[in-house]
Symmetry: D2
Subunit: 333 residues, 4 copies
């Protein structure tokens, strides 16, 4: 059960409500986000919600049977739009493409990429400066130095930055240089990281785990929300199955279901979702048809020469063609 409180309410009224709910054998979590005040009440009793709903200071009250609460569409029927700044929004009708290389490699690459993205009308650039790699002997990214360089060039060119944060201690140093924190698939249930990202005022794109369920993804999002940050986007990036004809199995079913179960925007990652360059455009198109609010994809001037593995990365011409096709598709939908 979620009780939404009036934002200006006094402490005594709030305590009165908490006591009333606790009196019904519920545990109460008092949640203050940047946008609102909520009581998330967990319990098994059948409670008469009208009694609570009429108390002073209660704005709204909803029963939410899902294991996740504040991210559920059972509480908030309308769709959330995430504000990236400068009028760029994702969700509730606003669609964006985020594109860029797997790894940030250096100034020349950054400038070339930004020039290309801007020519296509893309407003958000992706790229890794901290790379999760299976082997400790692989390239792990340029780190903060690379991020600062990227940030400087991006600001000059009015382009937003999304990049992966891998641990709590990186949040603060990265904060002023990024526009969206990305949580990678391997950290989808790194609960301490999620807790801390709930305390920042920047949007977070949360990727589904490699074998994470839809339910687990939504509960991970609940970690962020319940710590105070409502600006969350969910990302489907393919799951691990028995099939070896491609890298991951893009789960478009999950996109359809997430869009219905949650008010949060859902983003598709077709690059990882299939992992083979020549099919990325088809998977991107399918994701758009199913309802994705944004697409995040890998683009590089010369994928064969990309740091890390570029086999799922589009070149400039391919990304231009895909932008064109997605534009026409969205116009039709």
């Amino acid at each position: 059960m979620i009780i939404q409180l009036q934002s200006e309410m006094n402490q005594a009224d709030q305590q009165f409500i908490v006591d009333a709910v606790v009196g019904q054998s519920f545990t109460v979590n008092e949640i203050n986000t940047q946008q609102g005040k909520y009581l998330v009440c967990i319990g098994k009793n059948d409670i008469d919600m009208r009694t609570i709903g009429n108390l002073p200071g209660v704005k709204d009250i909803h029963r939410v049977s899902d294991p996740y609460k504040l991210v559920s569409s059972k509480w908030k029927v309308g769709k959330s739009a995430i504000d990236i700044g400068d009028g760029i929004k994702i969700g509730n009708g606003d669609f964006q493409v985020m594109a860029g290389p797997c790894s940030i490699e250096g100034e020349e690459q950054i400038r070339s990429t930004i020039k290309h993205l801007k020519s296509l009308g893309i407003k958000i650039m992706r790229g890794g400066v901290y790379k999760p790699r299976s082997s400790p002997y692989s390239f792990r990214g340029l780190g903060m130095e690379g991020l600062k360089l990227w940030h400087q060039i991006a600001k000059e060119n009015d382009i937003k930055i999304i990049t992966e944060v891998m641990q709590v201690s990186q949040i603060e140093p990265m904060h002023d240089y990024i526009d969206i924190f990305q949580v990678g698939a391997r950290n989808s249930q790194n609960f301490n990281l999620l807790d801390e990202l709930g305390k920042v005022d920047k949007p977070v794109m949360l990727k589904r785990g490699i074998s994470g369920t839809v339910d687990e993804l939504l509960q991970s999002a609940e970690y962020i929300f319940s710590n105070g940050n409502e600006k969350i986007m969910l990302c489907e990036r393919g799951i691990r199955t028995f099939e070896k004809a491609y890298r991951n199995t893009m789960d478009i079913n999950a996109i359809a279901i997430l869009k219905e179960r949650s008010h949060l925007p859902v983003i598709a990652d077709p690059s990882h979702g299939i992992g083979i360059r020549k099919y990325v455009d088809k998977i991107a198109m399918a994701s758009v048809v199913v309802g994705a609010d944004a697409v995040i994809m890998e683009v590089h001037e010369c994928p064969e020469k990309a740091f890390s593995d570029g086999q799922q990365t589009l070149d400039y011409k391919q990304s231009e063609n895909l932008m064109d096709k997605m534009g026409r598709l969205r116009a039709m939908l």
Copy 2:
């Protein structure tokens, strides 16, 4: 290696070619289909294909490194279209929708369904008369009696029939009453059934196994082709994964890959691909975007009352809406 022979060639010339290839330590499978003559040659030697290619009676010769041969696009680059009769085709640009109930229930249901399908321009009706059921105590279909009734009404109304064949002994009795044999997911590697379907002159729609790989599906198709029947359609119907938020995981990656690896048409089954009615339209649309040559879907006047489980079945209004949306989508592509 596939050697395509001229159809009118004499036996001596053919034997000469066979001997030449066997002399290179290849085993040779002589394949006669309703449409052509082929030698499928399996071996490890590096052979000079020009020597063979110049022999009398050889139309064409191709190296095919895939484990499947005659169904591979490495041998036949152009796409195959399957002729269902009366000008109805699937593949190589021709798109069809096949729709109807899970199970054939009786005359009234058949007439109602056909009337509905015809109003939407749908030319092929699906429905089960032999139903594979996990439990021996469940309804297993009306059998031949139901099929004969259905066939009579369908012919009166110029609508084609696709239905599942479950065992070799059913092929002959069913043959004259159906237009397309469907092989279900549980029989995707029932090799004896595939062998026998290779000897009939009706098209076969072969479903991917519940956890079948793309490779296994293509090799199962190879069974049909190598027995003489080239009229094969592949069907993606969702795979079994760890996720329990839906019934199966629709694998659009597989559609994209099958379309590239094989010249055969690829059909999408969004009903089983997600298994929940309200999402079927989105999954159908995504399948079309990725390149499906046809969509097969469950439709019933009153899904709640359908024999077997109707939770993945569209009602008439929903199927009408979806036909409209697919039409507009295809016009754009």
Copy 3:
């Protein structure tokens, strides 16, 4: 609900019971096996079983909430032992090893194998004469001719035969030459084959599907039982997962659970369960510890030269060592 009837009961009494149950809105399946008479009653009502239990002709009555009925241990608490003939039994304390090659290759191989098996005290020989192969161009077994040869030599040497039956039309020709029908993983839900095997008087070993659930396996066994054949053994042979370090994932959890949910014997196939020769002994030992009633394994005089792929096949020395280890282990348990 299962009502076990007295075997000598008259038809009028039986009809009276059926009517009583039907009167409670149950559907009734009248099952006659080689060993007993049962009414399997499916319905949702809460029925007073004592009323039925006291009717003339009723031997026993049990509520069975599982989707499978006659194979459930909720109905038959004691364990079933399957009689292979000549005092050889499997289940309820009797343990057997079945061993032999992947494929029957010829007289010399048969004689060598039997000599080896007998030296180890093994009483049942496995081997394929009909082989399910992914590719139509692979060796598919020696067929009936091979089986007849094998049968002749086996009878001379007092060794039993288990071999795979792939389709209904093979049952009758094979019947007199085999001691146990094996249903392979790909046919685990070939319901027509299961129906027909329910009508023969030879034991059946039913393999779990490549991605079959425990529930599906038990329901497939129910097909055989409900058609009249109670002599069923279940076989765990590894499932398909994401892991590629081995061929299949041996599911010892399933062995433990099957042993509890069903009264039928459970057999382990460590050869397919891991698919790599050097680990087969460990997996066999683990299966015995978990409670397997038999082990079926691949053995060949020279695995490298075996028809089909011998990479999961033990040589004679390895199988001798394993027999010794299993013997000591079983003595301890």
Copy 4:
């Protein structure tokens, strides 16, 4: 390629070797652990190892084709034993059981558990003070306060402590109060955490990810080793598959393979491996037969009242029986 250096070698000799290898287009990682000095060289050239092997300061040189290097048995053929202190060892023939509750609940529970464990001869107690929970509203453990209390009572009773560390910032505070750091399944690829655990002088038990491959687990172990800590134990705890008859699929295949591919000890977690109390003993026994060097299991005086979910937790009597059975089994092996 791994070059093991003599521990007392001078810097100039080391640099000479590094230069020689770099000259062959290898990248060189200089690794200093608490036990040795290594150069891990990554490259594609075919190098004459004898040239390097004869250089001053080289103790040993090995080609390691695996993606993991220092944890591979290709480099270190003998098995590693991990010293837990006070003569307690795991691996290379030394076997231990670690047991205790899911969560540490308080003094009474700690004292009761320790008394029970000591009566069974168990020397290492498990228990969570930081609990990874899918939902932010679940109990997350007693934290450092609980750990300190536990540590005090454990020291009084000469029992070792293994507990989960969830993030880098917990390592230092926990360090003096624990004997083994446990890395949970969800953190199996939390590379920053692994890096830091490579810098401490306490043993680490690394759990396989929920859908982690054998290869990924070994590469994660490589992170710890290459940062300086050789005291690593690998833990199989069940994987996520399609089967829903139990919580996870215990992968005994993986235990067999890990034991062969790596010199590190392998630990089995039968509690999570099946997730249902009544089967835990069978899975534990199977793990021992396959070669596990230790078993970690959940035990609680009253599992039904355990904090968190106790459905996979043994009670005292059950754990006593299992200890007895494992003892007899190990005596036989």
